[in-house]
């Protein structure tokens, strides 16, 4: 397969009002299908969260990763996404989450490690524009001198790749540690004693409102990749995602797929 360049594609931007965690899971799934089928153009989707959530990776065990009682006590919804990787603790306004859905030609011939780094080069540039010296830390982190900023995950389906990232904008580390179980073994080769110390959010590093950081990121993407067309979710697309959210992503069978 020949590799395509960012500029070879006409990128669309989806950035709508806040949506529920399960709908976000379903939208990634539907949009990956639609880009694979050529019925949706390559898209950057910025997420807005309607409520707090723990988003588990596809291969994580619910019991091992989440304190279900603590999550319930805090009113936090626990969902499972279609990509691998680790659990994310989300509170509306505290993270910046985005998905890039692209033809897999964009990363053709790359190793997974190269593909992860490639898909976030524009973010490294955007962060530099905000005065943050950030870099990619394999396998799937964006990090800085002060600590980790973001984690990425990819999923592939037929001719398309989904690359989604959650960046810490602000974080209630104490609450995160009540809800997520982060064992010692996981941190064994990280050289840090706690999960909270590993993360340093964008708010403290930029001093900018979240919306302004997002605006700068969108502008960087637009300039670097030759444009970004404002788009909305089609009625059919949204309806399919709502059905999938209800019938799959909101079900205990999916959330506890690995109990």
């Amino acid at each position: 397969m020949n590799r395509s360049q960012w500029q070879d594609h006409r990128w669309h931007l989806i950035h709508t009002q806040a949506q529920s965690p399960v709908l976000h899971m379903a939208l990634d799934d539907v949009m990956l299908d639609d880009v694979a089928n050529g019925v949706r153009p390559p898209t950057l989707r910025i997420w807005e969260w309607a409520g707090p959530a723990v988003v588990m990776g596809r291969f994580q065990s619910l019991r091992n990763e989440v304190d279900a009682q603590a999550a319930q006590d805090h009113g936090i919804e626990v969902v499972r996404r279609i990509s691998g990787g680790g659990a994310m603790f989300i509170e509306p306004g505290n993270t910046i989450t985005y998905s890039i859905v692209a033809p897999v030609s964009l990363v053709a011939g790359m190793t997974f490690e190269q593909a992860y780094e490639f898909m976030d080069q524009w973010v490294i540039q955007a962060l530099a524009g905000l005065g943050i010296k950030a870099w990619y830390q394999p396998l799937n982190d964006i990090t800085s001198e002060a600590g980790k900023i973001a984690g990425a995950a990819q999923a592939r389906r037929r001719g398309a790749v989904l690359h989604h990232v959650t960046m810490a904008y602000d974080i209630d580390a104490a609450k995160m540690l009540q809800v997520l179980r982060v064992g010692r073994e996981k941190l064994s080769d990280k050289g840090t004693a706690s999960a909270a110390k590993r993360v340093d959010p964008l708010r403290s590093q930029t001093g900018l409102p979240r919306a302004q950081v997002i605006k700068h990121m969108i502008e960087t993407f637009r300039q670097r990749h030759g444009g970004l067309v404002a788009d909305t979710l089609g009625a059919d697309e949204l309806a399919r995602a709502q059905t999938l959210a209800r019938e799959r992503f909101a079900t205990p069978e999916w959330t506890a797929l690995l109990p």
Partner: protein
């Protein structure tokens, strides 16, 4: 020999990779049920079922090498593993099995 299902848990953080978690139960000297989990990446996702199936039924005495070979043999050559390896899964299984063995020893006067 232990004929009841004994649950066991093992974890291994692959250096430079991801965390591999194994929950299994042992019955009659063999792995009776097993679930591999973690924050790794696998394409296709269904490869995880193949990994679990490959481990089920293996004797608790299986070496790390034996376990890794079984996992590799069960995977389609096109499977993409990122942050996880057959050797890493095997080591996490060995850790889980070692915890069963030590519990058995403690139970023996």
């Amino acid at each position: 020999m232990n004929t009841t299902n004994t649950p066991a848990h093992g974890e291994y953080k692959i250096p430079g990779g991801k965390l591999v978690v194994v929950d299994l139960s042992v019955a009659d000297g063999r792995i009776a049920a097993v679930q591999v989990s973690g924050d790794f990446f696998l394409e296709p996702a269904s490869a995880l079922d193949d990994i679990d199936a490959a481990l089920k039924g293996l004797p608790v005495s299986a070496s790390q090498e034996h376990l890794a070979t079984a996992v590799t043999a069960a995977l389609d050559p096109d499977t993409q593993m990122f942050g996880i390896s057959a050797e890493g899964v095997a080591l996490a299984v060995r850790r889980a099995l070692a915890s069963v063995a030590s519990e058995d020893q403690e139970a023996t006067p």
